[in-house]
Assembly symmetry: D3
Homo-oligomer: 280 residues x 6
Amino acid sequence: MNHLLVREVVERALREDVGRGDVSTEAVIPADDRSIAVIHCRSRAVIAGLGVAELVFATVDPDAVFYPAVEEGDPVSSGSEIARIEGRTRTILNGERTALNFLQRMSGVATQTRGIVRAVDSTGVRVVDTRKTAPGLRLLDKYAVRMGGGANHRFGLDDAVLLKDNHLSAAGGVAAAVKQVRGRLGHMVMIEVEVTTLDEVQEAVATGVDVIMLDNMDPATMRKSVRIISGAATVEASGGITRETALEAAESGVDVISVGSLTHSVVAPDISLNLLEDDA
Amino acid sequence: MNHLLVREVVERALREDVGRGDVSTEAVIPADDRSIAVIHCRSRAVIAGLGVAELVFATVDPDAVFYPAVEEGDPVSSGSEIARIEGRTRTILNGERTALNFLQRMSGVATQTRGIVRAVDSTGVRVVDTRKTAPGLRLLDKYAVRMGGGANHRFGLDDAVLLKDNHLSAAGGVAAAVKQVRGRLGHMVMIEVEVTTLDEVQEAVATGVDVIMLDNMDPATMRKSVRIISGAATVEASGGITRETALEAAESGVDVISVGSLTHSVVAPDISLNLLEDDA
Amino acid sequence: MNHLLVREVVERALREDVGRGDVSTEAVIPADDRSIAVIHCRSRAVIAGLGVAELVFATVDPDAVFYPAVEEGDPVSSGSEIARIEGRTRTILNGERTALNFLQRMSGVATQTRGIVRAVDSTGVRVVDTRKTAPGLRLLDKYAVRMGGGANHRFGLDDAVLLKDNHLSAAGGVAAAVKQVRGRLGHMVMIEVEVTTLDEVQEAVATGVDVIMLDNMDPATMRKSVRIISGAATVEASGGITRETALEAAESGVDVISVGSLTHSVVAPDISLNLLEDDA
Amino acid sequence: MNHLLVREVVERALREDVGRGDVSTEAVIPADDRSIAVIHCRSRAVIAGLGVAELVFATVDPDAVFYPAVEEGDPVSSGSEIARIEGRTRTILNGERTALNFLQRMSGVATQTRGIVRAVDSTGVRVVDTRKTAPGLRLLDKYAVRMGGGANHRFGLDDAVLLKDNHLSAAGGVAAAVKQVRGRLGHMVMIEVEVTTLDEVQEAVATGVDVIMLDNMDPATMRKSVRIISGAATVEASGGITRETALEAAESGVDVISVGSLTHSVVAPDISLNLLEDDA
Amino acid sequence: MNHLLVREVVERALREDVGRGDVSTEAVIPADDRSIAVIHCRSRAVIAGLGVAELVFATVDPDAVFYPAVEEGDPVSSGSEIARIEGRTRTILNGERTALNFLQRMSGVATQTRGIVRAVDSTGVRVVDTRKTAPGLRLLDKYAVRMGGGANHRFGLDDAVLLKDNHLSAAGGVAAAVKQVRGRLGHMVMIEVEVTTLDEVQEAVATGVDVIMLDNMDPATMRKSVRIISGAATVEASGGITRETALEAAESGVDVISVGSLTHSVVAPDISLNLLEDDA
Amino acid sequence: MNHLLVREVVERALREDVGRGDVSTEAVIPADDRSIAVIHCRSRAVIAGLGVAELVFATVDPDAVFYPAVEEGDPVSSGSEIARIEGRTRTILNGERTALNFLQRMSGVATQTRGIVRAVDSTGVRVVDTRKTAPGLRLLDKYAVRMGGGANHRFGLDDAVLLKDNHLSAAGGVAAAVKQVRGRLGHMVMIEVEVTTLDEVQEAVATGVDVIMLDNMDPATMRKSVRIISGAATVEASGGITRETALEAAESGVDVISVGSLTHSVVAPDISLNLLEDDA
């Protein structure tokens, strides 16, 4: 990830949460009071976002020190310590909610991804995300998918071509659409076409596109499509795939399955921060 | 909501998704091609975010026209048309994913909120959110909570005081903490104290704070706390409250229950956009 | 104060003053020339803004070291040294005017505030500011008020409710207005109502609002209002209060007086910076 | 003025004041309610900032219409209507304080400037400002000086050279400093030298600089300096000049007097906004 | 192109050129004076950037009207009128230099590209650009390449993989490097490998990469490489190719030649703007 | 130069090039791998931009160390090492292209400038630039001109007056235009008038302007103009001056020649970066 972009997301989140200043903490906690805080995860989860959490505290105060207790992408059991922060108490309380919000979202995405990746493990099929991410957080959402063992589909409308039904009908069919794209774009851009019928599969193969997306096909049609394509393009299954249906889709012989819910419906693991008592 | 802030969130989301430009659409769709698109919601949901979706398309092209088919906060059944857009086909395809991402997140929040609001309807207790929102989207998340029938807790660390255990122990107890806050802050800021035991409840009442948060108490202790407070402060129940446990918490006599999952674990309703066929 | 916001104000001010570069200094002062500078205050004043001045020089060059000679909020006599800077001569000359502009404005506000706070000292009444601040400098203006011994009214249109005559008449009276506000806002927002007559005072008390602002009342009416309210709400006197009239207003029994001139008409103390002679 | 810069200052001010949204107005004023508002000036003043006030309302809502009743730089007597706004009531209440804050600061600067300009009217000497402006508002402060009949000194450290004692001693005297500047800068930059003694005046004349600033000289020394310079450079008097001392300074024969208090100590005229009653 | 990005580039350029305001024009041209201006190209050129020039004037003043006289990518002879602007004279003079600077750079790029495209016309080989663009202007530089008949290589380090010698040696050879890339990246990213010897060509083919870049090879080695690759990957010739050497490179059988000088060494055509005389 | 502005240009360039992240390097180069890189210039050139290149790497990672091998403005022969960087290999590869793009543009400008400066060396005439710079890079372009031995004309429309034919005719002639400018602007702004005939020269002299630009005059007319002006103003020759025609223009007796091609048509020297082999 481009760290200039991540820094911007973190600063924006802190400005949103801290607003004009943390009035409770400024009133009550002396400026030079120091603490150690521990972050625990109180549910089973795959952890992602420790680097972002670290950056949150470093943005509040560069002198805060962040010690991750696990690595990005590590699965943890409920109750695990995942990080520790040493620094001014004000810094810790200022950054607490923002850091946890990042950790909870990103670990939620990673955990969800890992679940589906495991479900299709036997097939060797790749699980990829979509552009259905939280607005403003795409880079982090997609990073979390990788930490969960998934891979990334395109990052935006600009880094790969995906021709959907609207494009195809506007262009006058698959062949015409692909030709127009090839005429306008350079040789470094992947071209994917979305198809829904076996006829369209055949048309797509004929154009020599790089990737063919089987949209909302039943498993039987998927299998037939895979046979038609027969290695001439990467095959992606898409459309409403869940943890329950993932294995059947994967066993159809496709190379990749894309899953919107990895990032559009995320359950946050229970992650919280506590200051250590000074002594006993 | 401050529309300057919403405009910024929308522009950021569009820049994230469109990146350097929508290569598929620019290659295939003529610049002057026009379409009508319909947005449907394919699950039961409470709709929120239509104004934001409208702004997405208007930001791409001020000439696009957006017709909402329902009102913000309306519950809809599966299959309902919720909006229609007329404009250049390129505009519609450029803004599609960004608009849907906002609609799905915000309607997800509103739908979830409505569920809990309904659950405690008989009690007259208010359901409020927390600061556990998606980083960068707090204003929209909290707006969606209102559309779902909930109300908002504070928006950041700056607009109200909430003294938690760390503040209280650093200050040397509830009384000292509240005194310090009163000395530093003006008369326009609400003061809330988080308590976990009946002793702390009593201490808090004695300080005359505005709001007392009962943190993770069982229903019996909540009822006792309410009796002790007896109208001297607003009473908020907090801590792991779910749709299942909301009613019992509400029936304890508290004024408000706050629920983190309204915004930290959001399930997106299935909302999609389709171009209308040109003719029959 | 949120230091990300202060940093932004400081960078903006430096960009405004330095523009494309300090052509005089770049032409004449060698890059490695170092100096010690002293900042004196040449009039009686209450000092505020040392931290902001420090940030100005640190933004020009992190290696500059700033030594405050007094503390924020300290009153100084004419001729007092208030700070010292060691660093590259170019850094000092680059930041000089910007740092002084902040110090002069903020110390002006603090000095003015201290004057009125002293005037009402015997009454225990609090002196608070308004939103009549220099555009873009509200956070610093309000901080300076605190350094002068005052307290802050709301920071913007978002962090507390203030219902003025226009709101009241649009809503159909005090009772209706307060009801609408309570229906829309959560339990963490203070509600203040502006009243001008004793009838309105009584109406306001009946709604149970948190704060009642007596707008432009003469002292006798203020006293009567205080008796009517009788502790049911915080009472604020407002409208053209000056250092001369402050005591009489305060003695009416109100809790708070708000004074626009604290920030809208600020006289800058004479603060200047000099390089120390090298010696001989 | 560059309107892109002014637009930025206005948006920043609105974001500062409106924050997350105008909670009072959103709760009480219907979205489609419309009003006419009048802005009065309740003290004698020279008006400046009407264009900025107009931009404030237009930024909140492009449909608001602003009718100035006087022209920029017009002197008005107490009680004069200076502008009228028609638009949505919400728009007017949202922008009110921000618009007034600009108008009060800018008219304060213009009024103050006019006072000193009048005082030296008989001499034909120009009154100019300094860089002692409110951080972030320099462009507007300097515009207001022009509206008050004054002229502008340099806008920043970049658009003209001003060699002060520190520069001169670092360079090894006036002649050396001017030579270094001429070697580094192009032919489009004015060079001014600050002098405090008659010897320095002579030195400065010898270098052929464009402007000589007589710093904190008494009137007699100023007169002698003017005689020495004798038209070879523009002569500027500077240092603690007030409305009381301005005429004496001006009568010494200098071309220009610069006055810091035009912008560093500004008294706001009393300007307020009222909604017109709907009917009778 | 994403118009939000183009708008930002245009605003930045205007702020850079107009600075604090166009002092000459504000002093001399009445605010309501209107003119018609004509833009001529006084050398042979391929025109690009008319849309950007239009946006420059529209940013200064939305009421200015811009009439292009030719289309983007059109070749023009010396002396051709290429556009006309109607609007306030101040607007035209404010935007003049900025609009011309864009037009001259972009038309320079397009003209240069067209020259090389023509040179290899007989071969059907594509001419593509590199990342050697003017910092901050990449989107416009690459757009201009397309207007000149060229195509684009990748837009940044993020939208395609290019493994150069440093990557290959760090990874331990071509095969290892490609394997690592495939393990980390999704299926929507093109992979290109840079090779300098025939052995490396063979290695690259074996990995199944999408594109092979022949770096600084002589024509004979290129021909051999093309034979080895034999359609298994797109072949790109790169390294110091000029208009003089382009044809020989193209005739080696490669698919694409990439040329840094398209954007790193641009000769501006002579484009200027004149106000039409009012009449006779 | 204002380092806050340079930092912004550098960050923008890095964001443009790195985009969402350097996918090749992140996939292949271990995070802790370190290298030494050398930057060579492979053509004769005057070097400028080393400080900017250093800032590029420091922005990617503050721990990278940059060792310039030559000084800004040094002429180098082909093959010279000009800098060395030590740091993480990822940092070096991330910043490589951006750093080189700055170095190539700036050294190209400096080299070109040096050529013309040398050509007129015997005359003592100054070579200055224009506002025909790459949009967004003016500060760096003008810095590079100085490094090549040239000087700068004005930096924007705001820091000096240049009255061209359109201004003159709108104002009703040179005298009227200059008078209007003097009435509106302070005493710190240079005034230049563009003239094309000897009559206009005489008019301009009469107004006492600071600088007279002889626009597109032949050498004979220039000589006559210089005689007429006779030291009453700085004389600038302008209009299509090239390296070939520069000497003749300079020998006419003018003080300054301005040359647009210094910055509008820049040939990049061949500058490249290589990682040093680890060992032998």
